[in-house]
């Protein structure tokens, strides 16, 4: 059977998703069953509306038959239905159509014409079971009832309430009790506490930096043997970052400088140790200064760092030339103007300019190697 006769759930879902009735499941099943019956009779397909109408008629018929059967059973003082009740119900429903023996009135139920017709039908027609297995429906969810007084083990407070009724809800669900803050707050002691915690954090940070530095200098000897210099990279990074955090006045400057320095260190192969040591040398005085300052005053930072700093010399590639590298690798001190230019101009200069400068310097430095450039 082609698609017209089958229940087309895809199409229906898209259009009727909002309008699903309560009995949709039963209706779709009966539609499939009716479609199967029609197909067996010789229909190639059916209009959707015709199929729905027929499915509705089937459901109505079953309901009416059940109602009539129940009526006959009740009339005979019974609640459970009998086969005779069913036969009488069938006769009732078939009376409008007509069946053999209908005009004779209420004859023997056993010799009912309707039953004969049904029997003939069953014997004559081939058995076509329903296409798919159907689950029992509707599914009844078992509800959890509120336990009664007796089940809870309580006795109701009021005498007029019997104990087999559901229990009252707990008082905390409906009684409102005010809530207030028990803790008294002292603004002065709060400030003192806050300052103490800040100092503690700073001192712990300092001790951490010192420990890292001391461990870092111990590590350089081992790093000479190492290949990629990853440890140094890491240490340099941590150094830079801790220094950044502790030095408040230079935060803006350090962040931009140290990161490019450290990142470019990846390209370096063998002279890492030199680089590392020089970084250590660079920042030890800074840390000493911070130490002294923290013990003196507290949180206010001043900008005298820039004047006190010694010249930085980070020699990455001694004999080798790496033209592809960016300019930041070479931080040398050729004059006092270098430092200020480095720290002041970095945001302004872009990569291309730095590259040009680098090449220029290279050519000036090594006039013999000019053809290599």
């Amino acid at each position: 059977m082609n698609n017209g006769c089958r229940v087309d759930t895809d199409r229906f879902d898209k259009s009727d998703r909002e309008r699903v009735g309560a009995d949709e499941f039963g209706r779709s099943i009966s539609k499939v069953a009716v479609g199967q019956i029609c197909e067996r009779l010789g229909f190639y397909s059916a209009n959707d509306s015709a199929l729905e109408a027929l499915a509705d008629i089937v459901i109505r018929y079953v309901k009416d038959l059940g109602k009539t059967t129940k009526f006959y059973a009740n009339v005979a003082n019974r609640t459970e239905c009998n086969v005779f009740d069913v036969i009488q119900g069938l006769e009732d429903l078939g009376s409008s159509v007509g069946y053999p023996g209908g005009s004779e009135g209420c004859s023997s139920v056993l010799a009912s014409g309707v039953m004969k017709e049904v029997m003939e039908y069953v014997e004559g027609v081939e058995e076509v079971p329903f296409a798919q297995p159907v689950a029992r429906f509707p599914i009844v969810r078992s509800r959890r009832l509120t336990p009664s007084f007796v089940q809870m083990g309580e006795t109701p407070e009021f005498k007029h309430v019997p104990d087999w009724l559901p229990a009252f809800p707990d008082p905390h669900t409906y009684v409102y009790s005010p809530v207030w803050n028990e803790r008294t707050s002292d603004p002065r002691s709060d400030k003192v506490e806050l300052a103490r915690q800040r100092r503690k954090a700073e001192s712990s940070l300092l001790s951490l930096t010192k420990r890292l530095l001391s461990s870092g200098s111990a590590v350089t000897s081992t790093v000479e043997a190492a290949n990629g210099g990853k440890k140094t990279r890491f240490l340099a990074l941590t150094d830079g970052q801790t220094v950044t955090h502790s030095a408040e006045g230079e935060k803006a400057v350090f962040e931009t400088e140290l990161n490019p320095v450290v990142l470019r260190g990846k390209h370096v192969n063998d002279s890492n140790t030199e680089n590392h040591v020089s970084i250590l040398e660079t920042f030890t005085p800074v840390i000493e200064a911070i130490n002294g300052r923290v013990s003196e005053s507290g949180e206010n930072g001043e900008r005298d760092f820039l004047d006190k700093r010694p010249s930085v010399r980070l020699n990455f590639n001694n004999g080798r030339k790496m033209i592809g590298d960016s300019l930041d690798l070479r931080l040398w001190n050729r004059g006092t103007g270098r430092i200020s230019s480095w720290f002041g101009r970095d945001d302004v200069m872009d990569d291309k300019k730095r590259r040009a400068e680098y090449i220029l310097r290279q050519s000036m430095e090594n006039p013999l190697d000019l053809p290599q450039l």
Binding site: G26, L41, A50, I59, V83, S96, M119, V125, F130, V134
Partner: protein, 115 residues
Amino acid sequence: MNHNQQSNEVRHDDENALSDFLASLTDYTPTIPDELVEHYLAKSGFQCPDVRLTRLVAVAAQKFVSDIAIDALQHCKARQAAVVRDKKDKQQRDKRLIMNMEDLSKALQEVIITL
């Protein structure tokens, strides 16, 4: 006396036929599934634990539907025969029988259901 005996025999035969039929229903699986029939019978108050009765109801409903469908089929064939009379291709008549609302309503009118 004779008549009574005869009617007794007839009744006996009928009883046998009925019981045989009900016994055969346990094997037969109607096209309308049992769960569907049970659901709608329960909705209308029909209370019976016996599966044979639900099968009986299912078979009766199936017969009802097939009667209507056969009538609709005849209507459809009759209409096709009226149309195809002019054309030469006779084989066209046998294919593509589609159940229409019109055929169905004509068939249902005989069962006195107006749509």
